[in-house]
């Protein structure tokens, strides 16, 4: 087919989106393979949603190129739409419709052939665990159920690429877990799943992660790659009293690359873990800070992100893993 590119399910080349003077997406490039779960990680306003909207053909890129399922999002938006499923950040099914009415409506919107629609609606209901609730008003469903229904609606036309924009925000942990099982199932069937999230544990489930900050892609790789290669030095967990002054004191120590608050403790990046564990307690004591615990820990994605950007992904909600 003309203009089709089958090697990558999504290919993005120096994508830029500006709103007036504000650059929401700044020269982002990456490519995904079919069946891949591709995570977008970053704080609010990092450009995750904007990038996803461009890829869905909802926003026009200011410059750069994006090809989704073989079609250019700027020139072939309609073809793109036939091949993607999209779940926006805000729950966006019709609350006044019944579960099955929402499914029927979206089957119609995606022009699912009539003879296939009924079977697929049944499958979607089974997948979402909504059997027996087909005739409930959507408004009465709990958060996790709504999300699964929304996912069910967005895959009725069997899209090649699925875009999920923070699909699990505001959903309880068990429902999140169930939702991720569905995502894995979908990817197993060859669908490329794009997920944006700011839950660290969810990021670990992705095949590959793109870390975004202020519109730019700051790192790209598997969760392990990111943790291994991007962390400079080793990571120590430090429990200190009082915490505030301890942070400041540690940041001035030449052996410390970086220090940041994680929950009730500090994560301290050092060049040499063994040397630091012996020298730092004494150094802290000299400055009147008591150190109750100091030990090496494996870095989390949050540590990687903080080190790369100096920012938290989710202020106030992050604890050490």
């Amino acid at each position: 087919m003309a203009g089709q590119d089958t090697t990558a399910s999504v290919r993005v080349e120096s994508l830029v989106k500006k709103f007036g003077k504000f650059t929401a997406v700044d020269r982002v490039s990456f490519a995904t393979a079919p069946g891949e779960i591709f995570g977008f990680l970053g704080p609010n306003g990092a450009g995750k949603s904007t990038t996803i909207r461009i890829l869905c053909g909802l926003l026009r890129p200011t410059s750069g190129k994006a090809v989704v399922a073989g079609f250019d999002v700027a020139r072939q938006a309609e073809e793109v739409r036939q091949n993607i499923g999209y779940m926006s950040q805000k729950f966006s099914l019709y609350n006044t419709l019944k579960v099955v009415e929402n499914l029927r409506f979206f089957a119609g919107m995606y022009s699912v052939p009539r003879d296939l629609a009924d079977a697929r609606i049944r499958e979607a209901i089974a997948m979402a665990g909504l059997a027996g609730h087909e005739h409930d008003l959507t408004a009465t469903l709990a958060g996790g159920w709504k999300q699964r229904l929304a996912l069910g609606c967005s895959i009725l036309h069997r899209p090649k690429v699925l875009f999920l924009d923070e699909p699990t925000s505001g959903v309880d942990p068990i429902s999140r877990r169930q939702f991720w099982d569905l995502i894995h199932e979908m990817a197993g069937g060859g669908v490329t799943v794009f997920v944006s999230t700011h839950y660290m544990d969810e990021a670990e489930y992705c095949n590959r992660l793109a870390l975004m900050n202020r519109g730019a892609l700051v790192a790209l790789g598997t969760p392990n790659e990111l943790k291994r290669h991007l962390m400079k030095g080793a990571l120590l967990l430090a429990k200190c009293e009082p915490l505030g002054p301890a942070l400041e004191i540690l940041q001035h120590n030449p052996a410390v690359v970086d220090a940041a608050v994680f929950g009730e403790a500090l994560h301290v990046t050092v060049e040499d873990a063994a040397a630091a564990t012996t020298s730092l307690p004494g150094y802290l004591a000299e400055h009147g800070v008591k150190c109750t615990r100091l030990e090496p820990i494996p870095p989390s994605l949050e540590d990687v992100f903080v080190q790369l950007t100096g920012r938290r992904i989710r202020a106030g909600e992050v604890t050490a893993s």
Partner: protein, 370 residues
């Protein structure tokens, strides 16, 4: 799309209210409220004479449907107090020499006190009173002459026959009801459609919707077909209320009514749709919808104020007010019973309007968030 919209309308009490209850309320409110007729004017009488003749005159007032004789008083103070306190709109004072002067010189003087605060009612009340009194005096004179054995009509009686020119049947309702039908259609049609797209933007469902392969034309038709159907139902309801409740004659055909109403609906729904596309909040959209439909239809369509009495500049403006044509057509269909052919000019104007607005509306909606 259309089916979803219908289900949503059915489950949304507010839409249902606007679609079905509001037309009835509007019809009732405006049908009663905007009547330019004065009937049952509260009347106070001070009969100073209390003769057979004066009582006969009072009977005439009582018999008239335009007056309700509230009270007969015996002093001026009570009379003026009644007018002052709005208990009476019109007070009649019959002088003590009423019958005498009536017989002698055919020169009676009846004092009529009118509450002039409501100019329109005051004028009508005076006219009606003059008519009642004039007729009484003519009848009395004729009767008196006949009894005297004198030739009737030879006495040089001058009869006054007041006529209310702007409303010969004294039924302004006949003219107003068709206008109200137009008003209700404009209001309901534009209000409902203006809400339909903006509601989806507000609730975030639009983002989901435009991520599907549905075309913008499909969105428009899906959105508007249900409202078009509702509009036709509303029109039928309004006309039914007009004919059976307000006794307005309907002399035209239903075909011409629905044909022209369809044109009008295309214009109104198109306008509502474009507002809805342009303004993404429900509140803003409904405000603008009221502004561009209710106001021109009220003021400039010839519904309340006759177009040919407007200053030339305003009259020129009315030519671009779409409802002007519909009001003209409706009045003609209701009262004159003419068909579409006789109304070629306004129907053509509406058709052109429908095509232009329809074209603009189909191009107004863009499937993008930019």
């Amino acid at each position: 799309m259309a089916r979803k919209e219908l289900i949503q309308i059915r489950r949304d009490p507010r839409s249902l209210f606007i679609a079905l209850i509001m037309p009835v309320m509007q019809m009732a409110m405006l049908g009663y409220g905007v009547s330019l007729d004065a009937k049952h004017i509260p009347l106070y009488v001070y009969d100073q004479e209390g003769s057979q003749e004066s009582q006969a005159l009072l009977k005439r007032f009582q018999a008239s449907e335009y007056f309700d004789l509230v009270k007969t008083v015996d002093n001026y103070r009570e009379l003026t107090a009644a007018v002052d306190s709005d208990r009476s709109k019109l007070a009649v004072v019959i002088p003590f020499d009423f019958s005498e002067r009536l017989r002698d010189a055919n020169q009676t003087n009846v004092q009529v006190i009118v509450d002039g605060t409501d100019d329109n009612t005051a004028n009508l009340a005076t006219d009606y009173a003059r008519a009642v009194i004039g007729q009484f005096s003519v009848d009395f004179r004729t009767e008196w002459l006949r009894r005297q054995g004198l030739p009737v009509g030879g006495g040089g009686t001058v009869s006054i026959e007041p006529r209310t020119w702007f409303n010969e049947d004294l039924e302004s309702r006949n003219f107003i009801i068709p206008g109200i039908v137009a008003l209700v259609m404009a209001l309901v049609g534009a209000l409902l459609t203006s809400l339909t797209i903006s509601r989806e933007w507000e609730r975030g469902t639009m983002e989901q919707l435009i991520s599907t392969p549905i075309t913008s034309q499909e969105v428009m038709f899906g959105k508007l077909i249900p409202y078009f159907a509702i509009g036709l139902v509303d029109a039928a309801m309004c006309v039914a209320i007009g004919v059976w409740w307000f006794d307005v004659p309907f002399r035209g055909t239903l075909t011409s009514l629905f044909a022209t109403t369809s044109l009008f609906l295309i214009v109104i729904l198109g306008i509502g749709f474009m507002i809805s596309v342009a303004i993404k909040s429900q509140l803003g959209a409904s405000q603008i919808a009221l502004l561009v439909t209710l106001l021109p239809t009220m003021m400039l369509s010839g519904f309340a104020f006759p177009i040919d009495q407007m200053p030339p500049v305003i009259r020129a403006i009315t030519y671009v007010v779409y409802s002007r044509y519909y009001v003209t057509i409706l009045k003609a269909i209701f009262l004159k019973g003419v068909g579409v052919r006789a109304l070629l000019a306004p129907v053509m104007a509406m058709a052109i309007y429908a095509v232009v607005i329809g074209w603009m509306a189909t191009h107004a909606f863009k499937k993008t968030l930019d």
